[in-house]
Every structure is written in structure tokens, then in C-alpha cells.
């Protein structure tokens, strides 16, 4: 009993920074994982990755002018992300180019600008901080920011749920009954940016997309409906955060990668053992019903 306590409870009970890290990462999962499910279902999994890179120049600009302050870096990241999301989205909506190509073009330009800006002032240590984040250094300001982002995300998802599902499932139908198609797409891209920005303080721009996509990708192997998929993704996100933080605490590993790798373990387990995973598909093939 004591062992269990010291393994699982004590790190969080004894250290304020661990508590804040836990609260912050759990809140992030709550918002980012459902967004990740829709990104995946829209076949935009890699767009999330691209967006995460695209945030860099904004965050770097904030860093250049104000140093390592969360608010300027967040606002900068938000602006850069929204410019790239709207730009790439607009190019794909209104020209012949598909979203993957326009997104790649926009994020590469953005990333190059970002790296340039970081290198003007900072050392490589600063760059590492922006890229990989520090969940263990979340202050109250950062927690409040993440909380706000989660609230906005959940409320928006609740309001636009039906339109978002329709836009994913049958966009032409949605266009024939309503004009919400394009607005919903852009609102969704906005949510992606928002959650990535929320995540970058804790996990860094590179890994925040991991918390968004890996639980979603893992949840896909367990259910054939959207609602349970989102709930499951959030639960997987929770489990990954707790496991990652404990791992990071006990084995002195960097917290961000530990969280993402925990989610990675769940992902691989889901591929193998999920109800729609590899093993189940093999077994079912041996038996079939009469009709």
C-alpha cells in the first residue's frame, strides 16, 4: 500500500509543480483530444503537425520582444497559427489546390521565419525551450490560459457538433441545406490552432500535436462512432498524461516526451488489441455467421 502510494500518489501530493503539471496536462487532453479525433477523421492528421510548426514564428516574435513570457508568446503563436490556417484553408477552398499542399507551403514558410527569428537573438537552449516546452514549469498564468482555451474549445464543439459532423461526413449535403460549411471549417481550424498554442507552453510546439493526435488515432481502433471515440480519446489522453508525468518523475525523464511516448504505447497496444485492431480482425476471419 505504501509502495503504491509512493509510486502513484506521493509525487502529486508532495509537489506543487507536479500538481500544476497534472492539472495543466489533463485540461489540455480534455480540449485537444476531441479536436484530434476530428482532425484524424478529416484526414488532416498531418495538418495538425504542420500547424504546430506554423505557430513557431509567432511564439518566437513574442519571445524576441518580451523574453520568456507566456502571454506574448501565446498571442504571437495564435496570430501566426491563424494566419497560416486561414491562408492555407482559403487557398484550398477557393483555388484548385488541395489543403495538404497549401498547408505544407504555408507552414514551411512560417517555420523558416520562426527559426530565423529565434536564431537572431537566442541560443539553442531557448530554441529547445520553445520547441519542447516544460510541463513542469507551468505557472498559474499558464494554467488559467489553458483553462480558458479548454472552455472555448468544449463550448464551440458543443455548439457546432452537428455541423462539424455533417461537414466531415457529407460536405456537399451540408452546402445544399446550409451555408455553414466554410465557417465551420475555419472555426475548426481555429480550434486546432488554439489547442496547439495551449499545448506549446506545456509540451512545446512539436509535441503538443502528439497529445492531440495519438489518443485520437488510438481511439479509432476501439469504436465505430464519433461520440464514444471522442470520450475514449480524452480518457487515453488522461491516462497518458498521468503515466507520462509519473515516468518523468521517477526516471528523471523530460516530461513532454514521456507523456507523448505513453500515448504512443497506448496507440501500439490499440493497433494490436483494439476491437477493430489487427488481432481481432484475424480471429473473426475464422468464423462467420450464416447471414
Amino acid at each position: 500500500m505504501d509502495l503504491l502510494y509512493s509510486l502513484f500518489i506521493a509525487p502529486f501530493a508532495d509537489f506543487g509543480f507536479m500538481q500544476r503539471a497534472l492539472i495543466g496536462s489533463l485540461m489540455l487532453s480534455l480540449g485537444a483530444c476531441p479536436v484530434g479525433v476530428f482532425l484524424m477523421l478529416r484526414r488532416m492528421s498531418l495538418s495538425g503537425d504542420a500547424m504546430a510548426h506554423a505557430i513557431l514564428p509567432g511564439a518566437a516574435a513574442g519571445f524576441l520582444f518580451y523574453g520568456l513570457e507566456i502571454l506574448p508568446m501565446t498571442i504571437g503563436g495564435l496570430i501566426a497559427g491563424i494566419i497560416v490556417a486561414l491562408g492555407a484553408g482559403a487557398v484550398s477552398r477557393f483555388t484548385i489546390q488541395r489543403e495538404d499542399a497549401s498547408m505544407a507551403a504555408f507552414y514551411l514558410i512560417s517555420l523558416a521565419i520562426g527559426v530565423l527569428m529565434v536564431s537572431i537573438r537566442g541560443s539553442s537552449v531557448d530554441l529547445m525551450h520553445v520547441l519542447f516546452g516544460t510541463v513542469l514549469a507551468l505557472n498559474n498564468e499558464a494554467l488559467a490560459l489553458i483553462g480558458g482555451i479548454v472552455a472555448v474549445t468544449l463550448v464551440s464543439l458543443a455548439i457546432f457538433w452537428r455541423a462539424l459532423v455533417a461537414e466531415c461526413l457529407d460536405p456537399l449535403f451540408l452546402r445544399s441545406v446550409s451555408r455553414l460549411g466554410s465557417p465551420v471549417h475555419f472555426i475548426f481550424l481555429g480550434l486546432v490552432v488554439l489547442n496547439l498554442v495551449g499545448g506549446f507552453q506545456a509540451l512545446g510546439t512539436l509535441l503538443s500535436v502528439g497529445l492531440m493526435m495519438l489518443p485520437a488515432a488510438a481511439a479509432r481502433f476501439w469504436t465505430a462512432r464519433v461520440e464514444p471515440m471522442c470520450v475514449l480519446a480524452v480518457l487515453i489522453g488522461f491516462a497518458s498524461c498521468i503515466a507520462g508525468l509519473l515516468l518523468s518523475y521517477h526516471a528523471s525523464l523530460p516530461s513532454g516526451p514521456a507523456i507523448i511516448l505513453s500515448a504512443g504505447v497506448v496507440y501500439f497496444a490499440s493497433i494490436l488489441f483494439g476491437t477493430r485492431g489487427v488481432l481481432r480482425a484475424r480471429i473473426v476471419h475464422h468464423r462467420h455467421r450464416t447471414a
Binding site: 455548439i159 452537428r162 459532423v165 466531415c168 457529407d170 449535403f173 465505430a224
Partner: protein
């Protein structure tokens, strides 16, 4: 905005009225084909009030090339029209123009006020890998009634089940859509159209890859809608099917070759003219000069198809 010189209006409309006058007598008899043979010329204002859709010098297309060229005419309320023509003759384009997903290059489609359209496209952008069940897909048809935020009631769920029953898919509610066959999916989409409860129903090649029995079921459904005074336009390739089931036909070859009573429209000489239609775009085709048509007008209509707003001489509800 969009004011046309009235005298010019009359000029272009006069022959149109005469041709459509042939069709007006079908109004009272829905499925009875025999009833639509006698000619009946009615006052033009009656025609206008009976119009569900009015095309005014409508040109639709892609790039600078028209797929529907200067189309004028009226689709009457409660009519059942087959749209036939060769590949590339503008059938699907016309459907897209009516529903508003394609903006006119010139001219306009005017929907009678308050008319809602249900549209079954030829090439659905449906994502079959999306994790949804049949009931989720069909429930989208409740959008016109419930919108984005309205809660689905018990009645709504029952009407979904009834719609599925009507297309012969009773008990399929929980099936994931990626397990449906092509014909089953098509029937599912019919159930969604059924649920939309629209006054204007546009079906673009709904019988493709559908077996004979299912075609029979779907035709029966279309006739039921026709009996309910809904306005229906169906793109069909099978001319026998058209002759047997559709009172009116629009034969297209970028422009209407013939339009009216099916038996008249599908006469051999008309079909021959339609067959001579040259599908390809000519890159260097001469520019179509407006000849005094007010082409700028199309721009005024480019937004707002969904509201069926009316203009000075547009159709009004009875």
C-alpha cells in the same frame, strides 16, 4: 438592382409561355399520363404563380465555358420532370445551379418563396469511412427542420425509422455506413431526402448501380412524392424508364433541345438532334456576346438562392 427592361422581358418570355402552356394541364392529375396530352393555353400570370423554379437567361459553367447556355423557362409546382441528355450536356450542372452550389455565370434561377430543396448529387462527397451509422446519416435529413442546434425528439427518431422502412431498409439503423452495399447506400440517401420533406426534390442519376427491384421501389417513392404535390426533377439515362414514369421531360444539349410532355420531347428527331450535340469544349470558341442581355444581373443573384427571393416579374406563391 437587377432591373431588366420590361419590353425585353416580354420578348424573351413569350415563346416560353406558349411551350409551357402545353404542360399546365398535368397539374391536377399526378401520375395519370393519359391526362397530359391535350393542349391547354393558360394566362401567363397563372403560369407565374404556379412556377416553382424560373430560369432567366441562365448560363452555368466552368471557367469561361458554359455547360448550360442561356436557359429560359419554368418548372411548374408539383411537376415531375425527367432531365435527359448525352454526357456533358449540362444535366448535373443544371442541378447544381438550382440547388445553389454552383453560381450562375449569367442570368438567374429564381425559386418561389419558401421553397426548400432536397438534393441527391450524382457524385456524393460522402465519406464512407467516417464512423457513422445509417441512422446518423439519415438524421442529417432533419437539418431543415431542426437546424444545427435543435434537439432530436422521439418523433424525429420515429420518422427516421419510418423513412428507412419506406426505402426497404427497416432495421438497418445501427449498421455502420461502411458496411452498406452501393444500392443500400443509395436507398439510405433516398431516406434522407424523404426526411428532408422538401417541396423541390432534385435527384441526379439516382438509379445508377441500383438493381431492377430497387429501381422499382425508388420509382414508387418518387411517384408518392409526385402525388404529394412536390416538384421533382430527376436526371435519368434510361429512356424507357422516362417514357413509362415521367410525364414531362427536358432534353438537354447545353441548350434545351426539347422540353415538355415526355412523348413529344423524346421523339426520334429530337433525340437525333440531341445526339449530334458536341460534348467537347472548344478552347477557342467565340465569345458569346450578350445581345443586349443584362449579364451583370447574374451577379446580383449570385448570393441568396436559398431564399428564393423574388424580383419585379418573378413568380409568386399562389
Amino acid at each position: 438592382m437587377g432591373a431588366k427592361p420590361t419590353e425585353h422581358d416580354e420578348l424573351t418570355w413569350a415563346p416560353q409561355f406558349r411551350r409551357i402552356g402545353l404542360l399546365t394541364n398535368v397539374i391536377t392529375s399526378h401520375i395519370d399520363l393519359a391526362a397530359c396530352s391535350s393542349a391547354d393555353f393558360r394566362a401567363t400570370d397563372r403560369l407565374m404563380t404556379n412556377a416553382c423554379l424560373t430560369f432567366r437567361d441562365l448560363t452555368l459553367g466552368y471557367g469561361s465555358h458554359p455547360a448550360i447556355h442561356h436557359l429560359d423557362g419554368t418548372i411548374r409546382r408539383g411537376s415531375l420532370t425527367a432531365v435527359v441528355g448525352a454526357n456533358g450536356s449540362g444535366k448535373s450542372t443544371l442541378m447544381k445551379g438550382i440547388v445553389g452550389v454552383l453560381k450562375p455565370m449569367a442570368g438567374s434561377v429564381i425559386r418561389a418563396p419558401g421553397v426548400h430543396a432536397a438534393y441527391l448529387p450524382q457524385q456524393s462527397e460522402l465519406d464512407r469511412s467516417f464512423p457513422a451509422r445509417v441512422v446518423d446519416l439519415v438524421s442529417l435529413g432533419l437539418w431543415p427542420k431542426r437546424g444545427m442546434l435543435g434537439r432530436y425528439t422521439k418523433e424525429d427518431r420515429e420518422s427516421v425509422s419510418q423513412a428507412l422502412m419506406a426505402v426497404g431498409l427497416g432495421g438497418f439503423e445501427k449498421r455502420p455506413i461502411d458496411t452498406l452495399s452501393g444500392g443500400q447506400l443509395q436507398r439510405t440517401l433516398f431516406a434522407r431526402v424523404l426526411l428532408q420533406d422538401a417541396d423541390l426534390i432534385l435527384l441526379d442519376e439516382p438509379f445508377n448501380a441500383v438493381d431492377a427491384k430497387t429501381v422499382g421501389d425508388l420509382i414508387a417513392l418518387i411517384k408518392r412524392w409526385h402525388g404529394e404535390e412536390r416538384t421533382i426533377m430527376v436526371v435519368v439515362h434510361d429512356l424507357d424508364l422516362v417514357r413509362q414514369n415521367f410525364p414531362e421531360t427536358l432534353l438537354l444539349a447545353r441548350q434545351p433541345v426539347a422540353w415538355g410532355e415526355t412523348k413529344e420531347t423524346l421523339r426520334p428527331e429530337n433525340l437525333l438532334r440531341a445526339r449530334r450535340f458536341h460534348e467537347a469544349w472548344e478552347e477557342n470558341a467565340p465569345w458569346c456576346e450578350p445581345e443586349g442581355h443584362d449579364h451583370g444581373q447574374g451577379h446580383d443573384h449570385a448570393h441568396g438562392h436559398d431564399h428564393g427571393h423574388h424580383h419585379g416579374s418573378g413568380p409568386r406563391a399562389a
